[in-house]
């Protein structure tokens, strides 16, 4: 079976599409324009009971055109790259610019925001040639191995619900009428397992993942142990009494809370009055001396990139320093509204969407305190291993959070019994204030963006059970 060795780098093709399209746009009476192209070659494998359940390949390419006219913006995209389709796409973008509202901040990034003079992360770090050496058979074998490893970790594991492997070769180029024209390429790969365990009448699930730029970066044994442990440790879980308790959040849980904070510090949500962080620049938000960064230059960060969705240089931004809120995250539009420069946080899910504000690698700086020190410090409380319902359980406007949780009840710093079907209720600002300690057991998670956190010790949070 063939591998990706046949892959040919597409830089020239993408740049040519951009240049051809730019020539076509010149016939129209517009003020500024931006052409975004992206191509993606993906491979996905799902294994179930040692067999290939699905195996898929895809090769896609598309173009998105942003037109600025009289301070209004219009957008259109197409996956069909023939001359006529691109011409239609330009016409639609122009006509879309005729019905959107005028905003004085609608113009392309300015000179000092562009990346081409001082890239902070190089293509070589993002694009790992050796992903291309992996044959389909190698990837299938890897997924099967993860299934076996996970099953072998504990005899109570009865089934592996899902093992999924995916990798991607992504290339993108941006050209705009202000003279920016650049490209980059990157590889990513991810493997995921979900283990079902049973004991008596109780069923429990636990999942984990590994990711990197090539399969070389992934430690299958670690992924298997984590998934198995997360599944069996909560078997036999029972409800506990409603109370106010201390929480010790596993990094996988902490990261989900952190991503709620991330949503609140994007300038877009602040400017639209949908964030509890509005008007809080300079204020102490965390009681503890917590540092939080958005860093698009981390060599190991899967969201690292030389420039963002508008061509703005992607650097490192300190969002919280010793607990104080220092800045929001910006794309160019929101930055101008606040009379500042873009922080390089224009995110494009694909050529199908316009640049919105979003995080890159967003993380809490770990401390030197290990997990056991946090456990010792907590004494009695709820060690939260998994939560469900975070995406529906947050009201960003009011800040209220209410999620389902499972884990272990800790008594005298030792696990006493598994807990399930309880909810944690707090709100974003109280949650920030209640974090007492940050651990050292740091891990990144692929949420919307790449979010990293160690374990967190949080005091005095309401839980509801019986």
């Amino acid at each position: 079976m063939q591998n990706n060795r046949k892959y040919r780098v597409r830089v020239r093709q993408l740049i040519n599409i951009c240049k051809d399209t730019a020539r076509k746009i010149k016939k129209y009476n517009v003020d500024e324009f931006e052409i975004f192209t992206a191509s993606s070659v993906d491979n996905e494998i799902e294994i179930f009971k040692s067999k290939i359940e699905t195996l898929s390949f895809s090769d896609s390419i598309g173009i998105g055109i942003r037109i600025f006219k009289d301070k209004s913006v219009g957008y259109a995209y197409t996956t069909v790259l023939g001359d006529n389709s691109i011409e239609d796409c330009i016409k639609k973008a122009v006509s879309n610019s005729e019905i959107t509202g005028k905003e004085e901040y609608n113009y392309l990034p300015v000179e000092e925001e562009y990346a081409h003079k001082r890239k902070l992360i190089s293509d070589e770090l993002l694009f790992r040639e050796n992903l291309l050496d992996y044959r389909i058979e190698d990837k299938v074998a890897m997924a099967k191995k993860l299934e076996d490893l996970t099953r072998s970790k504990d005899k109570r594991i009865t089934d592996i619900e899902n093992v999924a492997y995916q990798d991607s070769i992504y290339e993108t180029a941006i050209l705009n009428s202000a003279g920016f024209c650049d490209n980059y390429k990157k590889t990513t790969c991810l493997i995921y397992v979900n283990a079902i365990s049973k004991e008596g009448n109780d069923t429990s699930t636990g999942d984990y993942f590994g990711c990197g730029r090539s399969p070389d970066d992934i430690d299958l044994n670690h992924v298997a142990s984590k998934a198995a442990d997360r599944s069996v440790s909560i078997l036999g879980g029972k409800k506990i009494k409603s109370d106010r308790v201390s929480l010790l959040l596993d990094p996988a849980v902490s990261a989900q809370f952190l991503s709620v904070i991330a949503d609140g510090i994007t300038a877009d949500s602040v400017q639209k009055k949908k964030s509890v962080f509005e008007g809080k620049i300079g204020e102490k938000i965390f009681s503890a001396d917590i540092n939080i960064f958005d860093d698009g230059t981390l060599p190991e960060g899967l969201s690292s990139k030389p420039f963002d969705g508008e061509g703005v240089i992607k650097g490192r931004t300190c969002v919280f320093n010793k607990g104080y809120l220092k800045t929001y995250l910006y794309n160019t539009f929101t930055a101008r509204k606040d009379k500042t420069l873009s922080t390089g946080n224009a995110v494009r899910a694909s050529y199908r969407s316009t640049p919105e504000v979003g995080i890159s690698n967003f993380y809490i700086e770990p401390s030197k305190d290990g997990f056991n020190e946090l456990l010792g410090h907590m004494k009695d409380g709820f060690y939260v291993i998994d939560i469900i319902g975070m995406h529906s359980g947050v009201n960003h406007v009011s800040g209220q959070i209410s999620v389902g949780a499972k884990g272990l009840w800790i008594k005298n710093s030792k696990p006493e019994n598994p807990v399930k079907e309880v909810t944690i209720a707090t709100d974003i600002l109280n949650f920030c204030k209640s974090i007492e300690k940050v651990g050292s057991d740091f891990a990144f998670f692929p949420l919307s963006g790449y979010v990293g956190s160690p374990s967190l010790l949080v005091r005095d949070v309401t839980i509801s059970g019986k």
Binding site: M1, I52, N96, I99, V394, I424, N430, S464, G465
Partner: protein, 465 residues
């Protein structure tokens, strides 16, 4: 959309190395999407996509590829790459293709392409005006208007093909109200598999006022009570609880993988006698309806639960063959980029006999959950959570103050058994459902129902603002 000769050629290349089944799925789509915020149209995006998904099976394994193109050499190349994943040989060959029929028919009166963009802008402007006029406490209105026109052609190695033209229109509004430091929001939507004539039946202006009403009502919300208490769940969007807690567990892929609490339960009593539930993709113009599913099988009505007894799972082609169940036309996919899997369409708890008012009157101390912020479920265990976005206390059989920050948590199988009363006011609500990274259109629905006990999580005792 694809020439008969080329279709057969591609299907046969896919079969060539020993596959048991092959399929082509061709899709052409034009989208328009407008977003209003801060009283301005801040985004207007159009998209055009044309592509083809190729699928084959061998044994229990599915192989899939897609290309953003219908060019002959690209299709044939992709089919060859996919087929090269197998190393056997096949005697199967497609000689003829016969059209599949569906009894589902609709008529589009105002196609999106026929509506000038300034008319679309005016709908959003009206939403903004009516939302804000409802109350001076409304500080932000976000509204999305989107439409899709698509053509789909599906052919498979069983020798059948289907084609369908579809139109979808969607309008949603989110209103934010504020008083002091307290901010709340209200959400409402209109959606259907029809053109802009949908707004002649359902008024965008009233939609806007209803969203504002929720936001303003919730300003007076008190913290929700906590613990295990009786919960009355309102009609229409209340059906999301059945969708999440039971519907996903009835999807046959979860059952087949032993990842559903409903495995082995066909013919068994899983709910109170008052409970009947249905998945119906043939309800005309509803958001979750279609002529053919993503595998070219005609849409149909499937009784899932009848008088408390489990009757059927929700199948796609692969799971119905494997589990020897009757195909239900629920093999759905987000686009040509996605593999079809069993998905709900319009899924609802059917009407019972009770008067909704008397259901509320029967509760001495509990809550009334009217709108939800969405939910999540683990089908393997049946455990679920739902965030309540609009809810009220019930005290002495009467609706009381609105409550905030409430979440329902429980288990699908257990909740079904605890449904004590089912009202006679069935209604539907449109939405999007995510599964395996695919988002598709769904409707949830139900009349008012009463659950004897669910754990409610809230933030009682927390220092109030």
């Amino acid at each position: 959309m694809l020439e008969n000769k080329l279709t057969k050629k591609v299907l046969n290349i896919l079969l060539g190395n020993g596959a048991d089944f092959s399929e082509v799925f061709v899709q052409k789509r034009a989208f328009n999407n407008l977003r209003l915020e801060d009283s301005k149209i801040e985004n207007s995006t159009s998209g055009y996509e044309l592509g083809c998904g190729l699928r084959l099976w061998i044994g229990d394994s599915t192989f899939y590829a897609f290309v953003d193109s219908l060019e002959e050499d690209k299709l044939i190349n992709a089919a060859k790459v996919l087929s090269s994943a197998l190393d056997g040989s096949s005697s199967l060959k497609v000689l003829d293709l016969t059209g599949v029929k569906s009894s589902y028919r609709t008529r589009i009166k105002k196609s999106p392409a026929s509506i000038y963009s300034d008319k679309k802008r005016d709908i959003l402007k009206l939403i903004d005006k009516n939302s804000r006029n409802y109350s001076s406490k409304i500080i932000q209105v976000t509204s999305i208007l989107s439409d899709v026109e698509e053509e789909i052609f599906i052919a498979n190695s069983y020798g059948s093909f289907s084609s369908e033209k579809a139109v979808k229109t969607f309008l949603a509004v989110n209103a934010v109200a504020r008083r002091g430091n307290n901010a709340t929001s209200g959400y409402k939507s209109i959606a259907g598999t029809s053109g802009y004539e949908i707004f002649d039946l359902k008024s965008p202006g009233i939609l806007a006022e209803n969203a504002s009403k929720i936001a303003v009502n919730m300003l007076d919300a008190i913290n929700a009570p906590t613990g295990e208490i009786p919960v009355v769940i309102g009609p229409a969007f209340g059906g999301v609880i059945f969708h999440e807690a039971c519907g996903h567990g009835l999807e046959a892929d979860a059952v087949m993988k032993d990842a559903s609490v409903f495995k082995g339960m066909i013919g068994k009593k899983i709910a109170g006698k008052a409970v009947s539930a249905v998945d119906d993709s043939t309800i005309k113009y509803h958001w979750g309806s279609y002529k053919f599913d993503g595998e070219g099988f005609p849409s149909s009505k499937t009784v899932l639960i009848k008088d408390g007894i489990l009757e059927s799972y929700i199948y796609d082609l692969r799971t119905s063959r494997k589990m020897k169940g009757k195909q239900t036309g629920n093999g759905r996919r987000q686009s040509f980029r996605h593999i079809p899997i069993p998905r709900m369409s319009n899924t609802y708890i059917d009407n019972g006999s009770e008067d909704p008012e008397s259901i509320i009157r029967s509760v001495n101390k509990g809550i009334y959950a009217k709108e939800f912020a969405g939910g999540q479920v683990d089908p393997a265990t049946g455990d679920f959570v739902f965030g309540i976005s609009e809810g009220y206390l019930i005290e002495g059989g009467r609706l009381g103050l609105p409550i905030k920050g409430a979440t329902l948590i429980g288990n699908g199988l257990e909740i079904l058994k605890k449904i004590e009363a089912v009202g006679n006011n069935l209604d539907f609500a449109p939405g999007f459902c995510g599964k395996n990274g695919q988002s598709i259109s769904n409707e949830v629905g139900q009349p008012t129902i009463k659950v004897s006990k669910i754990t409610v999580g809230g933030i009682k005792d927390q220092d109030a603002e």
